[in-house]
């Protein structure tokens, strides 16, 4: 970021829950406090049990997963289930599909929505007001209720069973245009007016001034888009029938039948499919938390 101090974002909508809150008075140790700390710790541990149980199951020899009563640990720790799953499913292919489509959607949403938000915030053109009103009205349309007409639309465009069918409909993010326009509106015009006097084109103003100043909100929106796109189920589920084109969540749903009763392998499959975003989350916990918190306006 340049030496120019970036404008402060509208603070109420850009919370930073990832930060350790410095603003609470230091508490004295008390019995009540100890009870609450214990409660928090217990709840956090309970919340991890499902994933830990899946992990424990996946590391057991297949024969020991059906012991009654269930045991947390088997006679040995083995990665056999993981190897079997990678060999017998198209996990890698789905991972590549998910990565490609999710990156394309995230980049496309950031580009299209920020360009549109800049246009609505800074440019004059005929119909600007009612076009923006239409975009805001679009926030109210839940994509899930459009699956039937959307499917027919993609069919008539010849896009069923292509990456495009997964990517293009997800580029429509009117809520993000709304968030970004509000953010751009709050950036003072002085910087760009100086640049305009120097003859900078509107695109230069967008790319060299407004985008760099908006990196925090763009990151937040990008992370939120990445998570929701990676996990989207219904759209890729209806528009892909070719296993080679399925995303990870859809491929997993299609494949689970062939691993029935092989519980260690099913859990290995589930964990491998959940792993990419879990890793992203562990590495970028602060950014993810901030991103989701500030993009929470998106329904």
């Amino acid at each position: 970021m340049s030496t120019v101090a970036p404008p402060r974002p509208p603070s109420a909508r850009n919370p930073r829950p990832g930060r350790e809150a410095p603003d609470r008075p230091r508490r004295r140790l008390s019995a009540g406090g100890a009870v609450l700390s214990t409660l928090g710790l217990l709840l956090a541990l309970v919340w991890l049990v499902p994933v830990l149980w899946a992990l424990a199951t996946s590391l057991k020899p297949e024969a020991e997963t059906t012991s009654v009563p269930p045991q947390w640990f088997g006679s040995e720790v083995t990665t056999g289930a993981y190897r079997a799953v990678v060999e017998n499913s198209q996990l890698l292919r789905w991972f590549v599909n998910s990565t490609l489509t999710t990156l394309a959607v995230t980049a496309g949403v950031l580009l299209l929505c920020s360009l549109a938000a800049f246009g609505f915030s800074r440019m004059d053109f005929r119909g600007r007001r009612w076009l923006y009103a239409l975009v805001v009205a679009g926030i109210l349309v839940p994509p899930q209720v459009l699956i039937i007409p959307l499917f027919r639309q993609l069919g008539s465009l010849g896009l069923i069973d292509t990456y495009w069918a997964v990517i293009l409909p997800q580029l429509v993010a009117p809520a993000i245009v709304f968030i970004l326009k509000n953010f751009f509106d709050a950036i003072p015009r002085e910087y760009e007016e100086a640049a305009e006097v120097d003859g900078a084109s509107p695109f230069r103003v967008y790319w060299n001034i407004v985008v760099p100043m908006s990196l925090p909100v763009l990151t937040a929106v990008g992370i939120f888009t990445f998570i929701t796109t990676w996990n989207n189920f219904l759209l890729p589920f209806i528009v892909t029938t070719d296993p080679d084109l399925m995303t990870l969540p859809v491929g997993l749903a299609a494949a689970q039948g062939s691993f029935q009763l092989l519980y260690a392998q099913v859990m290995a499959l589930a964990l491998l499919a959940g792993l990419p975003l879990l890793i992203v989350y562990v590495l970028f916990q602060r950014q993810v938390i901030r991103g989701v918190g500030s993009a929470g306006i998106k329904g």
């Binding site: 059906t66 004059d124 053109f125 679009g138 209720v145 998570i227 990870l248 969540p249 929470g296």
Partner: protein, 311 residues
């Protein structure tokens, strides 16, 4: 405005770069900025919305072709179709059962994580981690937990002397089980919104309360909770909207069973459209859900607009 100086300036038909001049100079450029978004917006949102509504008046099939005009035939059938009403009731039941725990537990978790210092990161990690998992992964893990003979839950139940619980196969329990899974999976989102709101409360309020010798409970009741009122409103409405659209985890865990007691309205839309291939009828059913969501969403827009102006 002094027009006499104008000829001296190159390429200036107006003496100053006024707003009017700018508007005249940029109508095309401005449209270029919004055009790419508006194109996908028109093709993949506006058009399907209109086409979906039009389709409700025809008996279309999935393969294409509008089919023959039925007038209000589909709509009359919607009103008479018991499956529409039971799946609407299931959706309503899911919403009523899931929204209160998702909001209250999210608040409780945020309060716990906000006050912990050393373990704060662990609580934040644990409460939000399930949210980043895909629906398929969540469903596989929970179906295994709920497994009647070998699952972990029934393992504990029988060890405590109970008899195995048919979590997903009993018509009485299936919906509750699906709700429990949903709470585990998605409460992290509300948790984060509450945590963000808690960190925005001015510390002066707590300092003043401490001067008045308010107990921690009194501070919670008279400072924290009133300050969270706007956030709670937002979370409740967002949660209503997302619970009404439930499909993924129910379809993946129970396929709407047993005996259709968990089948949500969106699954009925999917079945009518993609297994019975009755797109006109499926569109009509989906517009019933659309209408319900619209009512809640308009309410939400009013709520959020209170805090921010749309210019």
């Amino acid at each position: 405005m002094t027009t006499t100086t104008a000829p001296a300036r190159p390429a200036a038909d107006s003496p100053r770069r006024t707003g009017e001049a700018r508007a005249g100079r940029r109508p095309v450029t401005g449209l270029l900025f919004v055009a790419p978004f508006l194109l996908v917006f028109a093709v993949f949102l506006v058009w399907p919305t209109v086409a979906g509504l039009v389709a409700t008046f025809y008996n279309g099939s999935l393969a294409g072709g509008a089919g023959e005009f039925l007038g209000l035939g589909n709509w009359r059938e919607v009103l008479d179709d018991p499956a529409v009403w039971t799946s609407l009731r299931n959706t309503a039941l899911f919403t009523v059962l899931s929204v209160p725990p998702l909001v209250l537990l999210g608040l409780g978790m945020a309060l716990l994580a906000h006050r912990s210092r050393r373990l704060g990161w662990f609580l934040r990690f644990s409460f939000f981690a399930p949210f980043v998992l895909p629906a398929t992964v969540v469903s596989l893990i929970w179906v295994w937990l709920y497994q009647p003979d070998l699952g972990l839950l029934n393992g504990y139940v029988t060890q405590l002397g109970g008899s195995a619980v048919p979590w997903l196969s009993s018509t009485d329990l299936a919906m509750v089980s699906v709700v429990v899974t949903t709470v585990w999976w998605t409460v992290g989102f509300n948790f984060l919104l509450y945590l963000a709101a808690l960190q925005q409360i001015p510390k002066e309020l707590y300092e003043a309360a401490e001067l008045d010798a308010a107990t921690p409970f009194q501070q919670l009741r008279h400072v924290t909770l009133p300050q969270l009122r706007a956030t709670t409103g937002l979370i409740v409405v967002l949660q209503l909207l997302s619970s009404l659209r439930v499909f993924d985890q129910i379809y993946l865990m129970t396929i709407g069973g047993p005996n259709f007691v968990t089948r949500p309205i969106l699954q009925y839309v999917y079945e009518q459209g993609f297994t019975s291939f009755r797109t006109g009828y499926a569109s009509a059913v989906s517009y019933v859900l659309f209408a319900i969501i619209l009512i809640v969403a308009v309410f939400q827009l009013r709520l959020t607009n209170r805090g921010q102006k749309v210019s």
